[in-house]
Subunit: 220 residues, 2 copies
DNA sequence: TACACTATGTGCAAGTTTGCACTCCGGGCA
DNA sequence: TGCCCGGAGTGCAAACTTGCACATAGTGTA
């Protein structure tokens, strides 16, 4: 009821998502899913970009409007998965420690709907290791995003290069912990999406970040 | 096995259906289905064009790019249904009697996939009779198409107005027989899509056209 | 009656997808 | 080696979709 001007907080601008955004997202997803399906049924390298486009219901040209290559399309799976966490991270209060924010953000990833595509990718990766490259890039891109998001928080702190190193080291570590949690989770649970499995994933994320927060001190 | 040059028959130009055609058809169907769903769940008149567009995943403007009104969208259900038969009709040999061609063409309609939407429309029509108008228009449009298709066959026959009357009376009657078959079928079988029901529909179509061909002579 | 409000329908400019015509590149083959 | 071919990418114009502004019509209300 206050007539105050909009408070300057980490306001989540709830974008009503225009029809245009919606359509683009749908197209992007259609392409990604078609690519996955083809990998599943024919195996990596046994289909063309045109096959993906056809299966996705778009033209070859449109495929290239979205992705520079098949690899890039595959990378989108992990990219979208991480984007969920990124979104959560950006919503956390500015004064919260980055590690805590990261922990909270990662909780959103321990969701069957969210992990399912990545889990399948992990499975396929067992067979064909070259699928790992686009995944790697997605994690790297996420690191870059975390860096930017974290940098936003450190307005007014000490200036200079020390902050930059802190920022990057921390962000990189956080991402590494998340990745480690995912890797261990998959090696333990496989493509299992049960609640028990999700609980395991959550705990692994918490543990890895706790390790990070504690400076990886041994308990002995 | 003959090496004859392509016979000059009612050649069906097998259109590979461009991506553009495919997309347009998909959009048209999405709108139609969304409209049906809304009629089903909210009832006729309890939703706006915008609701349909949203449900169909397109903008309001796009809705109007396809249909002039909600009614027109509903009409498309019957329209598409009849289009199937029309297509078959056009494929029949030029020298075959129109009634025989019509009989053959109608056989394609006795297919669960094809009748399903129309059957549902019939069901909804029980409740709200104003749904009948767009359906009527679809049948009428089909008559016009049959007239054109039949006219094509009568090149070189006698000229003058007699042919035109014959053409129109015949075409109109054929359509009426088809419509009668559908009506009786639904009143007998309801929305039943079983093979037995389809057989009934087929027989009704055959019978109605036989009646027409026999000049509606009574057997006694 | 006058006014506010909601829904239909349309014109237009800007954004997106598509078809097509290239260019490049790598593998098979005479 | 030189040629052919199929797939990857790209530029561009045409076709399609969208957002927005505006005109119109029906409804409820002061």
């Amino acid at each position: 009821m206050s007539s105050n001007p909009p408070a300057i907080v980490a306001e989540s601008p709830p974008p009503p998502l225009s029809r245009r955004e919606l359509n683009k997202t749908a197209t992007r997803q259609a392409i990604t899913r078609a690519a996955m399906e083809l990998i599943r049924t024919r195996g990596v390298g046994n289909f063309t970009v045109e096959d993906i486009a056809d299966a996705a219901g778009v033209s070859r040209r449109t495929f290239f409007n979205y992705y520079a290559s098949t690899e890039a399309a595959i990378g989108n799976i992990t990219h979208e998965f991480l984007e969920v966490a990124l979104q959560q991270f950006r919503l956390r209060p500015r004064d919260e420690p980055v590690i805590v924010s990261a922990k909270e953000a990662m909780m959103a990833l321990a969701d069957p709907m969210a992990v399912a595509p990545v889990a399948e990718l992990f499975t396929l990766m067992q067979q064909n290791h070259q699928l790992a490259r686009p995944e790697l890039e997605a994690w790297d891109h996420c690191t870059g995003q975390i860096i930017e998001a974290a940098r936003e928080r450190m307005r007014g702190g000490t200036d200079g290069q020390i902050d930059e190193l802190y920022l990057r080291a921390l962000s990189g570590s956080v991402i590494s912990c998340g990745r480690a949690a995912m890797d261990v989770w998959f090696s333990r649970c496989g493509p299992d999406l049960s609640e028990a499995s999700m609980a395991t994933l959550r705990q692994l994320m918490i543990d890895s970040l706790d390790l990070l927060a504690s400076g990886f001190a041994t308990s002995s």
